[in-house]
């Protein structure tokens, strides 16, 4: 089993005449804590969408755990072990919080293994996930009854329920308070100890710097830096991208 979990080669994506991603090369090792930053519109979400299959890249390839992803639909990539949380939380509004967690269990975990989870096991796992993210009290509520941070936690819980090898957390901390950010960070750290690889996409520099062991910077669809976080943020191009000319 090789060390590389996710390998992106010369990935390109255009929307009409606009080049969103211009030949991105990126390798993510198993268990790595990768931070991904970049100004708005630099292509971060497009990259996530290409990895998860929401968008099809025109050029280049994405390989996950040795398997090329090019022909696979989103749900198949999820079943392979890629989980992502959405920037704007997208829970299933007609279902309770617990039922929201059942979906990945029924459709990803159960679809993968030959040993399907029983109803009791599913219920127990939902309870456990809710406890881990701190949403036990809201188990039977609808998403419209949740606060901002609770929605973010539900979003992460749903990604976790899919039992992923790789979690891409897409701006899960936007708009949260200082202590709330710490809560999410703690959660992400606990995932690392469980062996899950995490790509953290954030604008909150404090969080990115404290979490990442490696930092990648995207500007206008190109990767301009990739390495140790402390060195990367002192990179002149990175400074220019954030502070302007």
């Amino acid at each position: 089993m090789s060390d590389t979990l996710l390998k992106i080669s010369r990935l390109g994506k255009r929307f009409g005449g606009f080049v969103a991603l211009d030949g991105i090369d990126l390798e993510v090792r198993r268990g790595e804590r990768l931070g991904l930053i970049g100004p708005n519109g630099s292509g971060k979400s497009t990259l996530v969408n290409c990895i998860s299959g929401v968008l099809r890249n025109e050029t280049g390839s994405v390989t996950f755990d040795g398997q090329p992803l090019d022909r696979l639909a989103t749900y198949q990539r999820t079943r392979l072990g890629i989980a992502r949380s959405f920037q704007l939380p997208r829970p299933f509004r007609s279902m309770t919080v617990t039922q929201n967690l059942r979906i990945p269990l029924l459709y990803t975990v159960n679809a993968r293994s030959t040993r399907r989870m029983t109803e009791t096991a599913i219920a127990a796992r939902c309870e456990e996930l809710l406890r881990v993210v701190g949403l036990s009290a809201k188990a039977d509520r609808r998403p419209r009854d949740l606060t901002q941070i609770e929605m973010r936690k539900l979003e992460l819980a749903r990604a976790l329920a899919a039992d992923p090898k790789l979690l891409i957390a897409d701006e899960s901390m936007a708009g949260l308070s200082h202590s709330e950010v710490d809560e999410i960070l703690e959660l992400l750290h606990s995932l690392i100890t469980q062996g899950i690889t995490v790509i953290l996409i954030e604008h909150i520099m404090r969080a990115v710097m404290s979490f990442s062991e490696r930092l990648v910077v995207l500007v206008a669809g190109k990767k301009i830096a990739d390495g140790d976080p402390q060195e990367v943020i002192r990179h002149p191009e990175v400074e220019r991208a954030y502070l302007g000319e």
């Binding site: 998860s52 299959g53 929401v54 639909a73 989103t74 749900y75 198949q76 999820t78 079943r79 989980a83 992502r84 959405f86 997208r90 829970p91 299933f92 509004r93 007609s94 279902m95 039922q99 059942r102 979906i103 990945p104 029924l106 459709y107 990803t108 679809a111 749903r158 329920a161 899919a162």
Partner: protein, 313 residues
């Protein structure tokens, strides 16, 4: 509603209806009841794709008439018993649903709705130009003199439709509580999010269109024997779509009981209006009720009841 409760009530309902059929001698009752039961099937079938999965089907008539015209063809060739006709009608309509789904489900919901209408009209145009089944002039079907189980053929048709109504409701209810039902709900709520959670949305949508179409085709299979004269204008009438949509939306789309309530209510009102006033008026009533409920009470009668229940608690 717990399983045991549901089956007890179903048994009671079926027993009462069956007893009525033994007691009532006026054939008109069976004519009217057949129609209402037919609408239970259509409304329930529509709701599987509409209420559960979130895709609007305006081409109800296409599937329904496909079942009816399959029966016409088989009747001319060989004349098999109705259960066979129902099976064939279901399979053919199901295949149509599968093809249509495959062509159109990759695109946004609104376009899907329009495409269903387009499909129904294309099918209608083909049937209108097909002389073997009578073309635009229509075709006459003679009811067999003897009915298998009971006395009059109308009573037999009524029992058949009763069985189908029960079957469709049972299917709907089973879906509701199953993994498939949860999956369909995620397709309705947010397809992309569903895919991200591992739901194979395209496959589920195809299952939904096929099943929904098949049930509609099955409901249409006995039609030629019921009306004895079938032409494309009546078989493909847009009123089937209005009814199949209005009944679940008025009754409530969240569970199997909604389409049943809607069908019973609207079906009865329409029968009464046709007899007492005019048949054009009953379509006006359906249209007006549809618009009214959709604007004022979007969750239907079930929704209103739910609100009342929560206020009391």
């Amino acid at each position: 509603m717990r399983n045991s409760t549901f089956w007890i009530w179903t048994a009671v309902f079926v027993a009462v209806i069956f007893a009525l059929s033994r007691v009532v001698t006026n054939d008109y009752f069976f004519f009217a009841a057949y129609l209402v039961l037919q609408y239970i099937v259509l409304a329930t079938a529509w709701n599987i794709l509409g209420g559960y999965t979130g895709y609007v089907n305006f081409g109800v008539a296409g599937f329904f008439a496909a079942g009816a015209y399959c029966s016409v063809v088989l009747h001319k060739i060989w004349g098999p018993p109705i259960p066979v006709l129902i099976l064939v009608g279901g399979v053919v309509a199901g295949l149509i649903g599968l093809c249509m789904g495959y062509l159109t489900l990759r695109i946004r919901g609104v376009f899907f709705g329009i495409a269903t209408l387009a499909l129904a009209i294309v099918i209608q145009t083909f049937i209108t130009n097909w002389d073997y089944v009578g073309g635009s002039r229509g075709v006459y079907i003679i009811r067999p003199a003897q009915a298998p189980l009971v006395g009059s053929y109308i009573q037999y048709l009524y029992l058949i439709m009763l069985a189908m109504a029960g079957l469709s409701v049972a299917i709907a209810r089973t879906i509701e509580h199953s993994t498939l039902g949860y999956g369909l709900a995620t397709v309705r709520d947010d397809e992309q999010s569903a895919e991200a959670s591992g739901v194979p949305t395209l496959r589920l949508k195809l299952i939904s269109t096929t099943l929904s179409g098949a049930l509609m085709g099955m409901a249409g299979a006995p039609l030629p024997y019921y009306v004895t004269y079938l032409d494309p204008a009546s078989g493909f009438n847009l009123s089937y779509a209005v009814n199949a949509i209005a009944m679940p939306l008025i009754g409530g789309t969240s569970m199997w009981l909604g389409p049943v309530i809607g069908a019973l209510l609207l079906g009865t009102i329409q029968q009464w209006a046709t007899v007492t006033i005019s048949s054009a008026l009953n379509l006006l009533i359906v249209g007006a009720l549809l618009v009214f409920f959709v604007v004022v009470a979007p969750n239907g009668i079930l929704g209103l009841w739910e609100v009342r229940r929560r206020r009391r608690a």
